[in-house]
């Protein structure tokens, strides 16, 4: 158990790190301590342009889970797409449906492909059961609509991420309505026949196989 003096020390050592190696070590230590008070520092690290430290910070935020979500949303960095992509990877992995709105708008309108890919994957994967039952279906339908849109994007990696999102949405336990699953399967069939990119088609083959296997 870390006392509050120890917590302060961990946070300060991130803020005062004077070399990339010390920063990475300090972020790892703070992430492992799983301190709620460390959340702002971990989020700040996402913008330091140090991939190793950012990956460690994302891991720490994901382990903290839902408690990190409000600040992650509030502090999305509008001016640094690298930082934003890490934030969305964290939000996607935590899968708290309170992130739905920011995920939708990032997936549809962000200029940075890395941000849109992370958001697309996250959209399919949210823990829908945490939503009130009357909100669940409309939210899933919005996610579906956005992912379908992305599955027509000119960039292959966005379409690939849309397939990953659509597969997760179709496999979600709280999705039982066929009116959600059948449009996904129909879109997959279409992509498998028409997509210009071999790897996007291959990803659909895998999604089709895995969905089929899990439905038995």
């Amino acid at each position: 158990m870390t006392n509050s003096a120890g917590a302060l020390e961990l946070i300060q050592s991130v803020e005062q790190a004077d070399s990339p190696a010390r920063l990475v070590a300090a972020v790892r230590a703070l992430a492992e301590a799983r301190l709620e008070a460390g959340i702002p520092s971990l989020i700040a690290v996402l913008g330091y342009n140090n991939p190793e430290a950012a990956v460690a910070a994302v891991e720490g935020l994901v382990q903290l889970g839902e408690v990190a979500v409000p600040l992650l949303i509030e502090r999305l960095d509008d001016y640094n797409y690298g930082a934003r992509a890490y934030s969305f990877r964290a939000l996607a992995a935590i899968a708290d449906p309170r992130a739905l709105d920011v995920l939708l708008s990032a997936a549809e309108t962000d200029f940075a492909p890395s941000v849109r890919r992370a958001a697309a994957k996250g959209l399919g994967n949210l823990r829908w059961c945490q939503l009130a039952s009357q909100q669940r279906q409309p939210s899933q339908e919005r996610a579906l609509k956005t992912l379908q849109l992305l599955s027509h994007d000119p960039e292959w990696a966005i379409r690939y991420a849309a397939v990953v999102g659509l597969q997760a949405l179709a496999a979600s336990e709280s999705v039982t309505q066929t009116d959600l699953v059948s449009p996904i399967l129909a879109r997959f069939k279409q992509i498998a026949q028409t997509d210009a990119d071999l790897v996007v088609r291959a990803r659909v083959w895998m999604a089709q196989q895995q969905l089929k296997a899990s439905s038995y």
Partner: protein, 283 residues
């Protein structure tokens, strides 16, 4: 490796190396500009035709004529227009350009020779194999850095890449010594070509091991090499390399494409599924 690097640029949302206002030109204007008094317009027109031009004979012939340009010279005696024309002819994929490109392999300008070698590889005609092999005949000794210049005496890397693309197994004994070339980058080009031509895992592993030791810029290039090699056991090493996710995704994509093209049975192997599972984690 001109093609993958332009793809990376678009991945990072930067404008890349394309001059602005590209859409403003028509093919007629570009053709006319190839002989314009303003030399910079000639240079741009050659690039434009490679990017947006059609393979009509008049386009190909105009670019072939530009390979003999004498007007556009650098201070060091280089031929900028010839370089761009040679690159453009590779992209236009018209076999009619092959004899002219082969002549370019004797040009005094290193960068013209390099562009011609790359384009001959892209055109995919095995008839080019003997002339490309000639570029390697001096061995490592004949392919040292030119004093005061940032390049070797011959475009050895480009030649190996082209021979790899042409699946020229007869070039294996010529490529092998380059594994010991003093320039690291050339060693890796040799390892990649050796893997493609022999399918011997030793050469794929050499690239994987280099990933751990090299600096960031070299790691990025190595990822693209591994992707192009189609050496599937490299997928884990690519996914965990200390490089930006966008590079890893591109490398895994090209790895998978090369694999799928070789095994086009329509069903997915466990290895292919493994590559995609890794790609999913990088989104």
């Amino acid at each position: 490796m001109l093609e993958p690097s332009t793809k990376q640029d678009s991945e990072f949302g930067s404008p890349g190396s394309e001059p602005s206002g590209a859409e403003a030109l028509t093919q007629e204007q570009a053709l006319a500009n190839l002989t314009h008094p303003d030399l910079s317009l000639r240079y741009y027109a050659a690039w434009w035709l490679g990017k947006f031009g059609t393979t009509e004979p008049q386009v190909v012939n105009a670019l072939i004529a530009a390979l003999d340009d004498e007007a556009d010279r650098t201070e060091l005696g280089g031929y900028p227009l010839r370089r761009n024309a040679a690159r453009a002819l590779g992209k236009l994929a018209d076999a009619g350009a092959i004899p002219a490109l082969i002549r370019c392999l004797d040009c005094s300008d290193f960068y013209v020779r390099k562009a011609a070698a790359q384009s001959l590889g892209m055109l995919g005609d095995p008839v080019c194999i003997p002339v490309l092999m000639k570029l390697l005949e001096g061995g490592v000794a004949g392919s040292q850095l030119v004093p005061g210049r940032p390049h070797l005496a011959q475009p050895s890397e480009a030649a190996m890449e082209a021979l790899e693309a042409l699946r020229a197994k007869e070039a294996i004994p010529l490529i092998q010594p380059f594994l010991e070339h003093p320039v690291e980058r050339v060693q890796y080009a040799a390892a990649r070509a050796m893997y493609v031509l022999t399918q011997d895992a030793v050469y794929g592993e050499r690239l994987v091991q280099a990933l751990a030791a090299s600096d960031l810029k070299m790691r990025r290039t190595l990822l693209l090499d591994l992707g192009a090699s189609g050496y599937l056991p490299a997928s884990e090493a690519i996914a965990h390399a200390a490089v930006e996710n966008s590079f890893k995704i591109i490398a895994l994509k090209s790895l998978l494409e090369n694999h799928l093209k070789q095994h086009s049975s329509g069903c997915l192997s466990p290895e292919a599924q493994q590559v995609m599972t890794l790609m999913d984690t990088l989104l």
